[in-house]
C-alpha cells in the first residue's frame, strides 16, 4: 500500500458506508459491529485498523485514541462519545500506554481475543515453557468467557484483583483449587495482564514495550525533521517519501498520531496537505523571515 494511496483512502473511507474501509481491511478478519449501528467513528476505526502496518510483527492492530481526532473533520466530542459507547458495549478495549501523557490505545475486542488464541497456540508449542494449566478446549472457553462475562462488565483498562479472582473462581467452578492463580499467571505469561499495584491488574498486550518504544522514537524522529526545517513545515507527500528509521509503525501511523495530539497542524494547500509544527516558535520565525 503506497503512502499516497493511504491519504486518499483515508478521507474517502469515512464518508462512504464502510465499503472502501472493508476493502482496505481485506487482509484482516472483518469486524462486524455487534450492536450499535456503525457510526462515523466506527468507520474511522476500521480505516485506521486497516492502515496499521502488519509487517511490524505486532500481534494486534493497535490504534491510539487521539488518532481519531485527525480523521477528516472529526468532531472531537462526538468521537469521544462514540468511543465511550463502543467501550461500554465491549466492542473495543482501551489499554493504557506506559507514557507520561497517559495516552490511550484502542483495540477491537475481536482482535484481542484472536491474539490471545494465537499467543496461546504459540505458547503451547514452545517446549521450554511450563505446561499450561488449561488445554486448548478450555482456553477457548476461557476466551469466550472473557468476552462475555469480563469485558462486557469491566470496560476499564484496570481490574481489581479481588474482582478478577472471584470471576475466575466462577469460571472454573467449584473444583477450582489452585487453578485461579495458575490461570492468572498464564495470562501474565501470555502478556495480556500485568500487575499495576497491590490491588489491581491492568490489561496489556504482548510486546507493548516494543510498540511504545517505536512510538516515542518515531515521534522524536519525525519531529526532529520538522524542527530542522526553517519554517517548521513540510508537505505531507514529502514527509512520506522518506521512511522512518527507528519505527516499524509506518509514516501514516505517526502523522495521524501527531496531528491527533495537536503537535502538528494539517493545513490544506493547493499542492496537498501541509504539516506544520504547532507552537510559538513558528510565529516568531515568521516575523523576521
Amino acid at each position: 500500500m503506497s503512502a499516497s494511496a493511504d491519504s486518499g483512502e483515508q478521507c474517502d473511507g469515512i464518508n462512504d458506508d464502510g465499503a472502501s474501509a472493508a476493502a482496505l481491511a481485506s487482509s484482516l478478519p472483518p469486524i462486524h459491529p455487534k450492536i450499535s449501528p456503525p457510526c462515523r467513528t466506527f468507520q474511522a476505526l476500521l480505516v485506521l485498523r486497516a492502515q496499521f502496518p502488519q509487517q511490524c510483527g505486532f500481534c494486534v492492530p493497535v490504534l491510539l485514541r487521539h488518532q481519531l481526532y485527525a480523521m477528516g473533520d472529526a468532531d472531537k466530542t462526538q468521537t469521544d462519545r462514540e468511543i465511550e459507547v463502543m467501550l461500554s458495549r465491549a466492542e473495543l478495549r482501551q489499554i493504557r500506554l506506559p507514557l507520561s501523557e497517559g495516552d490511550m490505545a484502542v483495540v477491537f475486542t475481536q482482535d484481542l481475543l484472536a491474539a490471545m488464541r494465537s499467543q496461546f497456540q504459540a505458547y503451547r508449542q514452545l517446549a521450554s515453557s511450563p505446561p499450561p494449566p488449561l488445554d486448548a478446549a478450555s482456553f477457548e472457553q476461557l476466551a469466550t468467557w472473557l468476552d462475555e462475562r469480563v469485558f462486557r462488565f469491566h470496560s476499564h483498562f484496570n481490574i481489581a484483583k479481588d474482582d478478577m479472582h472471584s470471576l475466575l473462581e466462577e469460571f472454573l467452578g467449584d473444583a477450582h483449587g489452585d487453578k485461579v492463580d495458575a490461570v492468572v499467571s498464564l495470562l501474565f505469561r501470555l502478556g495480556f495482564l500485568k500487575a499495576v499495584d497491590s490491588t489491581k491488574y491492568g490489561w496489556t498486550l504482548p510486546r507493548l514495550g516494543a510498540f511504545v518504544g517505536w512510538l516515542t522514537k518515531g515521534r522524536n524522529e519525525l519531529l526532529t525533521r520538522f524542527r530542522r526545517c526553517r519554517f517548521k513545515e513540510i508537505l505531507e507527500l514529502e514527509v512520506r517519501q522518506k521512511p522512518l528509521k527507528q519505527s516499524q509503525l509506518g509514516m501514516a501511523f505517526h502523522i495521524q498520531d501527531l496531528v491527533g495530539r495537536g503537535t502538528l497542524h494539517r493545513i490544506p494547500t493547493t499542492s496537498g496537505d501541509l504539516l506544520r509544527l504547532a507552537g510559538e516558535v513558528q510565529n516568531r520565525q515568521m516575523t523576521w523571515a
Binding site: I35, D73, T77, T79, D80, E84, V85, S88, R89, Q94
Partner: protein, 566 residues
C-alpha cells in the same frame, strides 16, 4: 438541556416577530428577556468603549465581579487589589477619550497604595490568589493571599473588617450566602490539602474537608445549595463534597467513568443496564429547600472589635447603607436597565434543579448540631471546631479515579448547578454531571493550561458558553459541544482569570501581562451588525495559525442546538 425553562419556541424567530409576539402577549416577558440576553451573548466582542486602567504590577491573578454587576475587583501577583466601579455615575473615575471610556479604580489596596505609606498593613503581603464577593449584595468582599490570610473587606472604603489566619497558603476561596447555606460561609482551599469552611458570622472554622493528597487549587460552592462543594487539587482529582457529611467526599470524579444517563440518552447504554433497567427514577424534590435554622451565635475574638455582635452590627449597617444607595440608584436607572431588582428574570427564573438524592440522605439533626456548636468553647479563629459526626458511617467513595492528567487548576459548577466543569494542566476542560459524577465527554480542545497555581474561567448565565483562556487568547466555547465559537486576542501573556458579569453581559479577562480586557455585546447586535456580520465560522482548532477574530453567526448557533442528549 440546561435552563430549558428559558428557551421558548419563539427563539428562532427574528427580532421583529418576537416583538410582535411580545406585543400580542403570546411571549412572556421572561422569555423575551432571555431571547435578548442570548442575542447579546452571541454578539460578545472586544469592547470598543470600555477600558479598565488596571496597571497591575506582576500580572493579574484573580478577578471577581460583584453580584449586582456594578463592581469589578482585581487582584495581582504583586499583592495589589483594585476595585473598579463600572457604573457611569462615578464621573471622577471615568475619562472619556474619543468615545472610549477609561475607568480608573475607585480603591486600591496593596504595595503601591500611597495612603499606606509604603507599608503593607493594608492588604496582603504576597500575591493575591483568589477574590470573592459575599453573594448577598456588593458591600463585602473577600480576598485570599499566599501570605496565608483571608481578609474580609468593606468595599465602601476598602477597609479591612476581619482577617483570618489559615496557617497555610490559601489558593482559592468561595463564598456562600445566607440564602443557600443558612449562614454566611466561605471555603478556603489550602496548600496542605484541606479545605476549610468558616462561618463569617461567628468567625469560627466550622469544617475541615480532608481527602486531597496535595494542594487544593480551587474550590466552588453549588450556586443554589451551600452544602455542596467541589474542589480541585494538584493530586489530579476533583472531589464533590456534602459538608453535612463531613468525613468523606461523595465522589472523586473519574475521567474514564462515562455518565450512564448520557449513554442511555444516546440509546446505547452499557449492556445489562440500558436494556433491562427502567429509566432512572428521580424522586420528586421540592423546588426550594428550606434553609436550616440559623446557627447559634458564638463568642469569637475578632480583630478590631469588642465582640462578635459588634462585628455583625457593623456588617449589617454597611450592608444596609449600600442597599439603600443601590436602590435609589436603581430607581434612577430603572428606565433603561432591564435587570432592576423587581423585573429581573434571573431571580424569578424557574430552574429545573435536581437535588442529588444521594447527597440528601444523611441529614444531621440540626438542633443538636447547633447545640453542639454552641457548647464549644470560644477560641481563636485558627482553632477549628470539631466537625459534627455524621449520623451513620457513609460508605467509602466508589470511585477514586483521577479527573485530569495534571494538576486541576480550576473547578466550578454551571450556573444551574447541574454540571461541574474542571480545567487542568493536561490542557483539558471537562464537563461532569454533578448528580452521577460521570464524565459527559465534551471535548473542548487543548487549552495550553500550564499554570502552577489556580486559574478561573467562566460560564454564561444560560450555561450555553464557557469562557476560558487559551494561551494568550480568550476563547468562548459552546458548553454542549465544546466547539470554539469565538476567540479574542488582546492579551500579551497567558490569560489567568476570566470572569462573567451576568448583569452587564460582560466578560472580563486578566492575564499575566497585568491587563484586564473587557468583552461586551457589540452595540449593533440587534441589527445583526457588529461581531456577527459576514465573518466566517471560527476555526475548529484553537492553536491553528492565522486565526483571526472570527465568529459563527448567532442564528446558526441557535439553530444548531439539539436536545437529544440534554
Amino acid at each position: 438541556m440546561p435552563n430549558s425553562a428559558c428557551s421558548s419556541s419563539f427563539d428562532k424567530l427574528p427580532l421583529f416577530s418576537q416583538l410582535r409576539a411580545r406585543h400580542a402577549g403570546i411571549l412572556s416577558a421572561r422569555h423575551f428577556h432571555c431571547f435578548l440576553e442570548r442575542k447579546q451573548i452571541a454578539a460578545l466582542d472586544t469592547s470598543a468603549t470600555l477600558t479598565l486602567d488596571a496597571d497591575h504590577a506582576g500580572g493579574v491573578s484573580a478577578l471577581a465581579a460583584s453580584p449586582d454587576g456594578r463592581f469589578l475587583l482585581s487582584g495581582s501577583t504583586g499583592s495589589s487589589m483594585k476595585l473598579f466601579d463600572l457604573d457611569k455615575r462615578e464621573k471622577r473615575q471615568h475619562t472619556d477619550i474619543g468615545g472610549r471610556r477609561i475607568v480608573r479604580p475607585v480603591h486600591q489596596v496593596g504595595k503601591r497604595d500611597p495612603r499606606a505609606g509604603g507599608r503593607f498593613d493594608r492588604g496582603h503581603l504576597y500575591a493575591i490568589s483568589s477574590l470573592a464577593w459575599y453573594p448577598d449584595g456588593s458591600s463585602v468582599c473577600l480576598s485570599a493571599g499566599l501570605d496565608k490570610f483571608v481578609k474580609v473587606w468593606d468595599t465602601s472604603g476598602m477597609d479591612e473588617v476581619i482577617s483570618f489566619d489559615l496557617k497555610s497558603k490559601v489558593y482559592s476561596i468561595a463564598t456562600a450566602g445566607e440564602r443557600t447555606s443558612g449562614s454566611p460561609t466561605f471555603a478556603a482551599a489550602l496548600e496542605e490539602g484541606h479545605t476549610r469552611l468558616c462561618d463569617l458570622r461567628s468567625g469560627n472554622f466550622t469544617h475541615i474537608l480532608r481527602g486531597h493528597r496535595a494542594a487544593v487549587f480551587s474550590v466552588a460552592f453549588h450556586p443554589r445549595n451551600g452544602f455542596h462543594l467541589v474542589t480541585g487539587s494538584a493530586d489530579r482529582t476533583v472531589r464533590l463534597w456534602d459538608i453535612r457529611r463531613g468525613v468523606q467526599c461523595i465522589y472523586a470524579l473519574d475521567k474514564h467513568k462515562a455518565d450512564d444517563r448520557f449513554l442511555r440518552a444516546l440509546g446505547q447504554g452499557p449492556i445489562g443496564s440500558a436494556d433491562t433497567l427502567p429509566p432512572q427514577r428521580r424522586p420528586a424534590v421540592p423546588k426550594t429547600q428550606a434553609p436550616p435554622p440559623v446557627a447559634a451565635k458564638q463568642g469569637p475574638q475578632l480583630a478590631g472589635f469588642a465582640d462578635e455582635s459588634d462585628v455583625w452590627a457593623y456588617m449589617s449597617r454597611v450592608t444596609n447603607k449600600r442597599k439603600r444607595k443601590d436602590k435609589s440608584a436603581e430607581r434612577e436607572e430603572s428606565n433603561d436597565s432591564q435587570a432592576s431588582s423587581s423585573n429581573d428574570p434571573l431571580s424569578r427564573q424557574r430552574i429545573n434543579y435536581r437535588l442529588n438524592p444521594h447527597l440528601l440522605k444523611p441529614q444531621p439533626p440540626k438542633s443538636s448540631q447547633s447545640r453542639r456548636a454552641a457548647k464549644t468553647p470560644s477560641s481563636a479563629p485558627s482553632a477549628p471546631t470539631p466537625t459534627p459526626a455524621p449520623p451513620r458511617k457513609p460508605p467509602p467513595p466508589k470511585h477514586t479515579g483521577i479527573a485530569h492528567d495534571g494538576r486541576v487548576t480550576s473547578v466550578r459548577f454551571t450556573t444551574d448547578g447541574q454540571y461541574v466543569l474542571s480545567s487542568g494542566t493536561d490542557g483539558h476542560v471537562r464537563l461532569w454531571d454533578a448528580l452521577t459524577g460521570g464524565n459527559c465527554f465534551v471535548h473542548f480542545g487543548q487549552t495550553k493550561n500550564k499554570q502552577s497555581l489556580g486559574t478561573t474561567f467562566a460560564v454564561d448565565t444560560f450555561d450555553d458558553h464557557v469562557f476560558h483562556g487559551v494561551g494568550e487568547l480568550v476563547c468562548m466555547f459552546q458548553l454542549k459541544t465544546g466547539r470554539v465559537v469565538r476567540q479574542w486576542r488582546g492579551h500579551l501573556d497567558t490569560v489567568v482569570a476570566v470572569e462573567w458579569n451576568g448583569r452587564r453581559k460582560q466578560v472580563c479577562s486578566g492575564a499575566k501581562d497585568g491587563l484586564i480586557q473587557v468583552f461586551e455585546p457589540s452595540p449593533g447586535f440587534l441589527r445583526g451588525k457588529g461581531a456577527d456580520s459576514g465573518v466566517a465560522r471560527a476555526a475548529p482548532s484553537v492553536g491553528a495559525a492565522a486565526v483571526a477574530t472570527s465568529s459563527a453567526r448567532a442564528d446558526d448557533e441557535m439553530s444548531e442546538w439539539s436536545d437529544e442528549i440534554w
